[in-house]
Symmetry: C2
Subunit: 253 residues, 2 copies
DNA sequence: TCTTCCAGGTAGTAT
DNA sequence: ATACTACGTGGAAGA
């Protein structure tokens, strides 16, 4: 695998490692005390602190602190990453469209590592809005008896509608699907679609649950709702994890 | 700093290091070939590949591949992270509200490292929607002559309005502010606020720019727009980064 | 490229 | 805890 880890590397060694990571198409990881500045879509400054920095071969740069899921600062994919100074070590990542730059000034580097990565696996995800849509096409009675779904992503002047269909009386129906509990924004969205259609159409918001305010707004605009959730079980899943989630803390299989 | 890096550690050594990271309130980093399973709000599976794993002391777990800004899989803050098996090494992170779990099965661990972090610096960000709001309170004529902004986050039955004020004729005005180019969703949002108010009120969408469809929707609902961007210059900024962004590629100061 | 919308969105704030 | 919105949202799919 020929990865490399350097303890307390010099700025020159980090520069060398960054070049190597580009040639090898690998990631560069830094454990460092650094300050960060950003300018582009907005501007930000982050004073010195201990952080973990990951530079990916696609130009992504992440600066992680010791809390939270989101990086404290970052550069999206597509940036050009360079060591622009070695005393102290400064790493700059610039990208265009939009034009923006991040600058990491390292007062100390505890470790640096080269991480060649081979990862071509694709994520299989179940329980998305698309799965909910498929579920409704499979079992239209989840909406109501006699409902006939017809078109996915039906185009209207106000944007694409999730599901277009007809009720038992042949009256057109628009469904707006959400995979989780919905608020007022989803009602606005459904209303926009319904009003953009030049016909007498019913609008139904399909979601696992709905907030009080959204419910009230629905009524105000003569829209409806159905309580339906995305399918949870999709076959080939690892059952022992499900047991964990179900609350069986002692599960260790 | 007493950080520790282990090359090709045994599962037991990783377990020990995870325990140590909890006691020391530090992060644990793994460079590993692993498979990932998730179950909770949805379900997902990710087959084996080389990845970088970061476990933070607040319970956050990130699994990064070699591309993209977002982790390939993750667990948000608040999870309990444990080694639940050592042959092969399995790391499980469980959290509640919502109840969900991620499981990382490592077929090889290239490195593991303990990263004690001291980071109490706060991010200073300029150019947000709040800054745009402040700018309008400071220079109301950016909207129009005679405009008098009055209330921020003004409460309506449909939700909080960014700015409530009055025009030169004393007619109430609602502003919906966006820090970037807006689409149909922002128009829907403004419309919802305007209609929820039981008065003859003007609605103005304030943003740097607007899409065609959104523009058309605005007209349809008798709403207005003003082209205003958040302030870009906020004083104490590092000017050399701005030069970089401006296109001066040779800037190395 | 631009537009549009989903996301296991995440984060912050007020109730 | 829930509700609501902003985010340097990011990412994908279609035009």
């Amino acid at each position: 695998m020929d990865s490399r880890v350097l303890q307390a590397p010099t700025p020159e060694a980090v520069e060398e490692l960054l070049g190597e990571s580009k040639r090898r198409n690998g990631c560069l990881s830094l454990y460092t005390r650094c300050a960060v500045a950003y300018e582009g879509r907005a501007q930000s400054q982050l004073e010195s602190g201990d952080r973990f920095v990951l530079c990916k071969p696609d130009g992504t740069v992440l600066v992680h602190g010791d809390t939270k899921q989101e990086p404290r600062n970052w550069q999206p994919p597509g940036a050009t990453v360079q060591v622009t100074d070695t005393d102290p070590l400064v790493i700059t990542a610039v990208r265009t469209n939009p034009r923006e730059a991040i600058r990491i000034t390292c007062e100390r580097v505890y470790h640096a590592a080269l991480l060649p990565m081979d990862d071509d696996a694709s994520l299989e995800l179940h329980g998305s809005e698309a799965d909910l849509r498929d579920r409704i096409f499979e079992t239209p009675s989840l909406i109501e008896d006699g409902f006939r779904p017809e078109t996915r992503e039906y185009e209207t002047p106000a944007g694409p509608v999730d599901v277009w269909g007809y009720d038992a009386d042949g009256r057109p129906v628009i469904l707006e699907l959400k995979r989780r509990r919905v608020g007022p924004d989803a009602v606005s969205q459904l209303r926009r679609y319904v009003e953009s259609v030049d016909a007498d159409v019913r609008g139904i918001l399909v979601a696992p649950s709905i907030t009080d305010r959204a419910e009230r707004l629905l009524g105000e605009f003569d829209l409806e709702s159905r309580q339906v959730a995305p399918p949870t079980d999709v076959g080939e899943q690892d059952r022992s994890l499900a047991a964990f989630v179900a609350g069986d803390e002692d599960e260790r299989t």
